[in-house]
Subunit: 376 residues, 2 copies
């Protein structure tokens, strides 16, 4: 058994606030995990990522297996040492990005053969290889390999895909084996079909994982459908294990999902948006490229403690975004990650104070009513 211990400190309705204790550190939940795709949370030094309040980051098996390669990272002492991040790391299984990035995919019962988007080299990913790669990386939370069916798909397609994912989940768990300090999470699939989601949750629970992810969401189904799927799924997962909603999301998605009992999130949104000149604030997202900021001496957010807000004007941020200066990506990524972590902290406090629903309501009102220059 993994040494992981999930401590639920408070609940409020379906929402929970807790701590996921792991050998490399404790993750406060609900947690937002910044994405460090290829061994770097883009435009950030890892000590700065920690300063934003992040307890755990996500690494992408697909990117790392292609470059620099899992065996190479293992020879260099593992991913934590390689990327200078000594705290917990969760890695995905690579399956989702094989489907979205690789070319010439050929899916069989055994696994998926594909060509690298970097150099066209051929690779094979099976449940066994996905788990081997994550073990070589030294990942603290290793994800089972699943198949991500496209959205929209018919029920028959989803059912067939789900069955494969469940067989792969069993093989993933067997391949994970026994690791003293690492955990293995299974992934619920089933599209937007409640009975398939329930079946998936129950089958995974039968296999027995250290945590349970919900996959195949935030792929175009819309927020209402996503929340419905969560409501149909989470009650069928063991309440004493962490629940992770993969690839989500926008601040309002996160708040709504956490309210429904999700404990962990990851998304490229704060980092990618930061590189595109977009900043998240409690009054909604801002586009620093907009000319109205050109001579604004005010900070991005007077209440934020990040370097972008403490030491620079909106006018400066506008200037460096427009000029394509790297510092624009550095400062706005730092700000966005700080905002996401501040949001998680505020949500955890609201759960502790049994005020999760009213927090969510007032957050959404402010976030949606704020500066209306562009959508979320």
């Amino acid at each position: 058994m993994s040494s992981q211990r999930f401590e639920i400190l408070a609940t409020d309705g379906a929402a929970r606030a807790g701590c996921l204790h792991m050998a490399r550190g404790t993750v406060r939940t609900p947690a937002f995990m910044p994405v460090g795709t290829a061994g770097s949370v883009k435009a950030m030094l890892p000590e700065s990522v920690a300063e934003t309040g992040a307890d755990i980051v996500l690494g992408n098996t697909y990117h790392l297996m292609l470059r620099p390669g899992a065996e190479r990272i293992a020879r260099l002492g593992g991913l934590h040492k390689f990327m200078n991040w000594p705290r917990p790391i969760l890695t995905d299984s690579g399956g989702f990005q094989v489907m979205s990035l690789a070319s010439l995919r050929k899916l069989t019962e055994e696994g998926v053969r594909f060509r690298s988007h970097i150099d066209g080299a051929e690779y094979f990913l099976s449940p066994e290889r996905a788990m081997e790669i994550q073990r070589l990386l030294g990942s603290d939370i290793q994800m089972a390999l699943d198949e991500c069916a496209p959205f929209p798909s018919t029920e028959a397609v989803i059912e067939k895909s789900l069955a494969l994912s469940m067989r792969w989940a069993k093989r993933s768990k067997a391949a994970f084996g026994e690791q003293e300090h690492q955990s293995c999470f299974g992934i619920v699939q089933g599209g937007v079909y409640p009975h398939l989601r329930r079946r998936s949750a129950e089958e995974l629970t039968g296999i027995g994982f250290d945590g349970y992810a919900v996959g195949g969401l935030a792929v175009g189904e819309g927020q209402a459908a996503m929340f419905e799927v969560l409501e149909a799924t989470l009650p069928h997962l063991p309440s004493d294990r962490p629940r992770y909603l993969m690839g989500v999301g926008k601040p309002d998605d996160i708040v709504g999902a956490a309210l429904r009992g999700v404990d962990m999130f990851d998304c490229v949104l704060p980092t990618r948006s930061g590189r595109n000149g977009q900043a998240f604030t409690w009054k909604g997202p801002l586009n620093l490229r907009n000319a109205r900021h050109a001579e604004d001496a005010a900070p991005l957010d007077a209440d934020c403690s990040c370097p972008a807000c403490k030491s620079y004007s909106r006018a400066y941020l506008h200037h460096v975004v427009k000029s394509g200066e790297i510092i624009a990506s550095m400062l706005l990524t730092w700000h966005n990650l700080t905002f996401f972590q501040d949001l998680m902290r505020a949500f955890r406090e609201a759960v502790t104070q049994k005020m999760a629903a009213s927090f969510a309501q007032s957050f959404l009102a402010g976030y949606r009513a704020g500066e209306p220059e562009e959508g979320g």
Copy 2:
């Protein structure tokens, strides 16, 4: 008179070690000034620039006048506040970059009319406007506007250009006027012609500046010719004023020039090279893109105190350079700026110990004999 005070603490042959005391801080000389072209030393936060040991940075009048504009920066409280760098700033006059970057230039006695390389808008730069812009920016050291003749040019062309530059120097000084805490530097021109350099130095000394720059070098004339020009020029400048070699340079150029009595340097080399995967070390430059670093667990330079060397392997740096990760630019720029500042510090100590020549010799031997994978 400017409140600037130049204190020479030690000399060794023609070399000097000193302190340039200014209202916003003291600059240890010989000094290397990182280039912050458009209000940012690329890929660095200003506090990190200070951590490398830099006492002063350079801003480019040409870039800042086009975007975001000098009047706008003045309304926002000046360049120091805008870019969050409270220490001294030197700005160039814009002349050099008008010649190298702008289009449709038209040079007259009055000044130069040109079009922005960003949006084609028309601008006019005269000695008076160049000084006005630098005053609006709040620059601590403001450079006279000069004309930079192309290399190679005939003696007649250089002589004519020099005469214009000297008339512009007089107008620049007059336009600079009296500023309590700011300084104004003149720029020696004269190509590779010793008698013209001497004439230029003497004319500028006659006008009377707070410091003297040597311009029009490192434009293709080669190191030997550059050193000859310095030897023909520096003796004709007042020894109690700082001497600044503009746009130089490579580590071996800097050491040779400092040995001949130069006090200040600036160059994009450490920052630009950092963004291109090149790292400077005491054993010569390294290209981190080279496959031989792919599995090298050693740090870039075991004796360097920068974050790139303290916390990462060459293998990681190779990986992030190859992957185009922003952290590659951040770490290698930080390292290179640290190397340049360490080099200046070592040179200053050598002067203090009357060992400048032997320091230079042993530095060059190590730097040129090191890891011979590519030229400097």
